[in-house]
């Protein structure tokens, strides 16, 4: 399942305009707000859910090659973060629900395809 398909299926808002990163394959989900911990644990292809919206999120997403970043509970994302996301080819999505609920429904969606 690609990031675009995930966003369409579960109704996540896409905040980044670049279509290329939306073609990345989603293979897992991980949530953590400690950047050092997240960086060490995120696997390639994971959706990373975090409440942080600063520039460092893009650095961590890029270094780990995660499928995309999802910001829960409609937390607003800084403009400079979206600009950097475009530069680095990172897709940022947004949802109104909590990180815990996002984990459940993304995991369910991945399992349905297995």
């Amino acid at each position: 399942m690609k990031v675009l398909e995930l966003s369409q299926k579960l109704g996540y808002k896409i905040l980044t305009e670049d279509p290329a990163p939306l073609e990345k394959e989603v293979t897992g989900v991980y949530t953590c707000d400690l950047l050092s911990h997240a960086m060490a644990k995120i696997n390639q292809g994971d959706v990373w859910i975090t409440v942080h919206t600063n520039l460092n999120v893009i650095a961590v997403a890029s270094l780990t090659d995660c499928a995309c970043v999802i910001i829960p509970e409609e937390i607003e994302v800084e403009e400079q973060t979206l600009i950097r996301a475009k530069e680095k080819g990172v897709a940022i999505l947004s949802s109104s629900i909590s990180a815990a609920k996002l984990c459940y429904e993304i995991t369910d969606s991945i399992r349905e395809l297995q």
């Binding site: 707000d33 400690l34 950047l35 050092s36 911990h37 997240a38 960086m39 060490a40 390639q44 975090t50 942080h52 600063n54 520039l55 460092n56 999120v57 650095a59 961590v60 890029s62 270094l63 780990t64 090659d65 400079q80 680095k88």
Partner: protein, 146 residues
């Protein structure tokens, strides 16, 4: 892969608009050279942590990167305050980062231990009021006896 690739980067102090750029660039070079994704990830994490430490604690610094046929060597040096108790600083959970840094998701006291976990060799030289130099080596293939 032939010859040694050498890169040098400046790491500005407290500037998160460019923090991680050196690590990101090295990650790109390693990927282009065909280094395995696992090694690229380990190298990127170790270097990024050291780079962020220089940004947060070291008043910025410099990065030297040497990519050889069998390994990558990274030296991150700063002229900051130095580390008073290196043994304590290496312990996971110990941090001197201010609240402003913690609010960004850093400062959990995992930086140095994360470097140690992901590097094959780590040597830290530090002196109070002189600065800190972090030497990281990652081998491209498993080393016997390392």
């Amino acid at each position: 892969m032939g010859g040694v690739v050498v890169r040098q980067y400046d790491i500005p102090a407290n500037d998160f608009t460019v923090a991680g750029e050196a690590s990101s660039n090295v990650r790109k070079i390693l990927s282009q050279l065909g280094v395995s994704p696992d090694i690229v990830k380990r190298t990127s994490i170790a270097m990024y942590e050291a780079e962020i430490n220089a940004v947060i604690h070291g008043n910025g610094g410099q990065a030297l990167v040497e990519i050889d046929t069998d390994k990558i060597y990274i030296r991150i040096s700063d002229q900051g305050p130095g580390i008073a108790d290196l043994e304590l600083a290496m312990q996971e959970g110990y941090s001197t980062a201010p609240d402003s840094i913690r609010e960004m998701g850093f400062g959990a006291g995992m930086g140095l231990s994360n470097i140690k976990k992901h590097a094959d060799q780590l040597k830290i030289d530090t002196e109070i009021d002189k600065g800190t130099t972090v030497n990281i080596t990652v081998f491209f293939k498993p080393q016997t006896g390392v």
